[in-house]
Symmetry: C2
Subunit: 512 residues, 2 copies
C-alpha cells in the first residue's frame, strides 16, 4: 500500500497493528475525545514520600507488559530512566513498553534491557546515539513508534498511548508531589514534555534529588497528579542537562544561509510588529535569529512571542524587548532557566499546548515563522530529520512537524551538501514532515519555494535572492556530489513514523 | 430514610434522582475516574474571537435543556451570568440548568427566568440574596443542588455534573482564549473556581472586557481549553468585585473569641514552624489571624502556607515572612490581587486542587488549622452554614466542609447567640458540615471540644481556658435566649445538600 506521499506502508505491521495511513497534514480535525483518567484518590492521612525505588515499584504494582514513561528534560544527563528500568529488570520483569519523549546517548543501558526482553516496545519522539543505532539494526522485538512532540501528547491524552506508570524526573519536588524544574542541582527549567504523562498516567511518581518542604513554588506539575515521591542522590549529570551557552555558527557558509533566510523572512512581509518566531538551537538557526535581531532593532519591531525550546540567545532578544513574551516547553541552557525563574512573561507551555493538533489550538498555530533543519529533502519538499545517510535512525521529528504545520512560513535552512552527500534528492530515506508544510528551502547556492506558495514566489521575485526550483537546486547539488547511491534496505520495519495526528506517514526499514 | 446523622432523606427525590446517602466524611476513597472530555479541535486557520453574544450562542448551538456554567470570582459585581441567561432567554429557550459556583444578590434577574421556565435547575455552592430567598419559597421546579467548592470540581471532573457550555468571566483574555484575572478594569485575581469548568465542559467561552493581543501573561486558563472569545463593554461592576479592605472586628466580644481561639491553637501545639493556616474574611476570623500574627512574630514562627480566598490581611502576614507561601483560589480584595501579580510564592490553585476529595490530594489535606464560622451547631458538632433562623437558604458550604475535612484542627468561632437566638441546638435546620470534622467550638462564654478529640481535651485541660461540654454551652445559651421555637417546614424539598464526595448529607425543606 502506498500513502499519498508515495511511501510503501503495509496495512498491518506486526507489533504495531493496523495502520491508519497519512492523508494530509490537516485531514483529521473535528471533535476529539480526551480519554478518561484513573485516579487513586488520596486522603488527609496518606503520605506520598516513599523510601526506596523498591517501595515505589511495590506501590505501583509494577508488572510484566506495563507501559512506563519518562520525559527528556535532563537530556544527555538523565539518570532516571536507567535507574528505574534497571530496578524493574532486577525483578525479572519483561515486556515493558518504554515511552520516553526522547532518547539520548546516555540511555545506552537500554540496549541490554532490549536484548534481554525486559523492554520490547519503545515509543519516542527523537533518538540519537547507541540506542538509535542498535534499534536500526533490528534488536527490538517490535518497531519503535516515533511521534512528534505534539503528537505524543495527543496520543497520551486520547488514550492511543496508555501509560501505566509515569516517572517524572523532578529537579525539585515537595513532600506532597508538587514539582518544578527551576531549582536544585539538576535544574533544567520548564517541564513541558512531562505534563500529559502526569495528567493521564494511571500512576505518577516524582523522582527528585531536591526534596523540599511543602509547598514548592512555583508549581509546574501539581500534587493532584502525583501519587508518590522518591528522593535519590542524583537524578542527573548537570554537565549533560544544560549546555553552557548555545553558539551561533561562525562558518561563512552558514552565515550566508542565515542572511538569505532573514532576507526571505523580511520579503514575505511577516517581519513586523506582533510577529512570532521560533528557531532551533543549532548554529545556523541561531545565526538566523541574529540576523532577525539586527533587523528588528533597526526597524524598532516588537514581536508577540518566541517559542520552542528556549535558548539564551532568544532570552537576550526577549530581554531587549524584541519579543513581549516567550513560550517555553524546554530550556536549552542556564540563561533560559534563569529567565524563566525571573519573569512571568517567560512562560511555560506543555507539549500539548505547544503542538497537540487535537486540542483547542496549540501555540504552533499562532507561529508566523519557524526556522527548521533537514537531513534530506525531496523534490516534493518532504523532509527527513529521522534517519541519516546510512539509513539508521539519528533523530526524529520532535517539534519539526508540529511547528511546520502551524507556522505561516516554514523555512528550512541547510547546506546543500553534508558529508559530501546532496541534501536534495528524488526520494528521502524517511519522511518526517510532509512537503505541504514546508514553504521555503534556503541553501548557500539557492532558494527553492514550494510551488503552492505562489504568494511567496511573487514576493521573492521582487528581490535579488537566488530563487530557483527545487529540481534546479537538486541538479546543482548532484553536480557537486554526484548522484548518491541508494541505501539498500531489508524488509524489516524498525520504526513506524506517526504524523502528529497519529496516522502513519512513513516507516523505517532496517538497512542491509 | 435516615442517614447516619439522623436526617430524614427520601431514597429518591423528584428532580434530583436516586439519593446516595452520606455515610461519613471519608467513606468514599479509592480509585476514581475522571470522565472523558469532548474537544472541538482547532486548526491554524480558525479564529476564536466572535462578534456578539448571538454569534456565540449560534456557534455553541445552545438549546433547550442544556447545562451552562459560570464562576463567581466577580461576586456581587458579576454581569456575565445575567447577560448570558438573558440572551438565551430571548431565544425562547427553556429548561436550562445553571451551574454557578455561587449566587449573589446581583443575580436577582434569575428569579424571572426561573418563573418563566427558562431556568429549571440550579447547581451552586453558595447562595445569598433574593434568588436564595425565592428558591427557599419553592419557585424552582427542581431542588437546587448545593455542593462544596471541592465537591463541585469533583462533580464536574467525574461527569456527575456535565456542562454543555461554560462561560468564563475573564478580566483579561487574549485573542486565542488565554485568560487571566489579574489585569483589566474588572481584575479579580485568581480564577480557581473556573478551572474544572474550562477543562471539562463541552464548549468554553471566555467573555472579557479586556481583550488583549496574543499572548497574555500569565495564563491562568489556557487557550487549549477555550473555544471562543467574546469582547463586551463590561463584565462587572468593580465596586462589587473586590471589597476595599477587609476589616478586623472591633467588637469586644468578637475580639475575646479570637483571643480564646488563638489560645486553643497554641495549646494544641500546632502553632510552630511549617504550620499551615486558613481563615475566612469575616471580622472574627480576621481577628484570629491578628492574634496568630502577634504570636508568630513573638515566637519567630514561619509557617509553610496560608490558603483559601486570600485577603489583604493574610497578604500582610505573608509579606512579613510569617508564611513562606500562599495558595489562592480567589482574591478577596485588591491587596490580594496585587500580591498575586507580584510574587510567584503567592500562587493560584484550582478549586479541585483546593478541595476535591477525589484527586491525588487536595491542599486542604495539608492544612493544620482552619478557622470557620457557623449559623447553627448541634450537640453532635454538626454545623449549619446553609440556612438561616427562618429556614431559608442564606449561604452554603463553599470551602467549609472541604477545609473541615482536611485540617488537623478545625475551630468554629462564633458568638453564642445571634439575633437573640442560640447558636447551639439539639438539631440544626440543615447540616452543611458533619460533626466528625469539627474539633473545637469557641464562643465568648466557653469552649467545647469534640469528645472524640481526646488529645485536644487533654492539652486544653492544662490551660485556664473555659472548657465545657457542648451540652453545657447549649444550656448557657438557652438560659440567655430561651429555647428557640422550632421552624415549621413543609414536605417540599427546595435544596439537596451534597457532601464533598457527592453523597447527600441533608435536604432543605421549604419553610411553612
Amino acid at each position: 500500500m502506498k500513502n499519498i506521499l508515495g511511501r510503501e506502508i503495509p496495512e498491518y505491521i506486526e507489533g504495531y497493528g493496523e495502520v491508519r495511513t497519512f492523508e494530509g497534514a490537516f485531514k483529521n480535525g473535528g471533535i476529539k475525545i480526551k480519554k478518561e483518567v484513573k485516579v487513586n484518590s488520596v486522603t488527609p492521612n496518606d503520605k506520598k514520600v516513599l523510601s526506596s525505588i523498591e517501595e515505589v515499584l511495590d506501590r505501583v504494582a509494577i508488572k510484566d507488559g506495563m507501559t512506563i514513561s519518562f520525559h527528556h528534560h535532563l537530556r544527555n544527563g538523565d539518570y532516571v530512566l536507567n535507574l528505574v528500568v534497571q530496578a524493574i529488570a532486577s525483578r525479572g520483569i519483561k515486556n515493558l513498553t518504554v515511552a520516553v519523549s526522547s532518547i539520548f546517548p546516555n540511555h545506552s543501558p537500554l540496549i541490554e534491557h532490549i536484548k534481554n526482553g525486559v523492554v520490547t516496545k519503545i515509543v519516542t519522539n527523537y533518538m540519537s546515539g547507541p540506542v538509535a543505532q542498535e534499534i536500526s539494526r533490528g534488536i527490538l522485538k517490535t518497531p519503535v513508534i516515533m511521534h512528534t512532540h505534539g503528537g505524543r501528547s495527543r496520543a497520551i491524552e486520547s488514550g492511543d498511548l496508555h501509560i501505566d506508570v509515569a516517572f517524572i524526573a523532578a529537579p525539585t519536588a515537595d513532600t506532597y508531589g508538587n514539582v518544578n524544574g527551576l531549582y536544585g542541582k539538576s535544574a533544567c527549567g520548564a517541564l513541558g514534555y512531562a505534563i500529559s504523562d502526569a495528567q493521564c498516567a494511571d500512576r505518577v511518581v516524582a523522582i527528585t534529588d531536591n526534596l523540599v518542604p511543602y509547598p514548592t513554588c512555583p508549581i509546574e506539575i501539581s500534587q493532584i497528579y502525583v501519587d508518590y515521591v522518591l528522593k535519590v542522590d542524583s537524578i542527573g549529570d548537570s554537565a549533560g542537562i544544560v549546555s553552557g551557552t548555545t553558539q551561533i555558527t561562525n562558518d561563512p557558509v552558514g552565515l550566508k544561509i542565515a542572511k538569505m533566510a532573514s532576507d526571505v523572512m523580511v520579503a514575505t512581509g511577516l517581519v513586523k510588529d506582533e510577529m512570532s518566531f521560533q528557531t532551533g538551537a543549532g548554529g545556523i538557526s541561531l545565526a538566523v535569529a541574529a540576523e532577525l535581531r539586527k533587523y528588528m532593532k533597526q526597524h524598532s519591531i516588537v514581536g508577540s512571542f518566541a517559542s520552542g525550546g528556549i535558548t539564551g540567545y532568544i532570552v537576550d532578544m526577549f530581554k531587549e524587548g524584541l519579543f513581549r513574551s516567550l513560550f517555553d516547553v524546554q530550556c536549552f541552557d542556564l540563561q533560559a532557566v534563569q529567565s524563566y525563574v525571573s519573569s512571568h512573561k517567560h512562560q511555560r507551555m506543555s507539549a500539548s499546548m505547544y503542538g497537540n493538533p487535537d486540542n483547542k489550538g496549540a501555540v504552533v498555530n499562532n507561529l508566523d515563522i519557524v526556522i527548521l533543519g533537514a537531513t534530506e529533502i525531496d523534490t516534493n519538499f518532504n523532509v527527513n530529520v529521522t534517519t541519516g545517510s546510512d539509513g539508521a535512525i539519528m533523530g526524529g521529528s520532535g517539534g519539526h512537524s508540529d511547528t511546520a504545520a502551524g507556522a505561516k512560513l516554514t523555512i528550512i535552512v541547510t547546506q546543500l551538501m553534508k558529508a559530501r552527500l546532496p541534501i536534495i534528492k528524488d526520494k528521502v530515506t524517511t519522511i518526517t514532515t510532509p512537503g505541504e508544510c514546508i514553504d521555503v528551502i534556503v541553501t548557500e547556492r539557492g532558494i527553492a519555494v514550494n510551488p503552492k506558495r505562489l504568494d511567496i514566489i511573487e514576493k521573492l521575485k521582487k528581490t535579488n535572492l537566488p530563487i530557483m526550483t527545487i529540481e534546479q537546486l537538486k541538479i546543482i547539488a548532484e553536480k557537486m556530489t554526484g548522484k548518491p547511491k541508494e541505501i539498500k534496505l531489508t524488509d524489516q520495519i524498525v520504526a513506524v513514523i506517526e504524523y502528529r495526528d497519529g496516522s502513519v506517514i512513513d516507516v523505517v526499514r532496517k538497512p542491509l
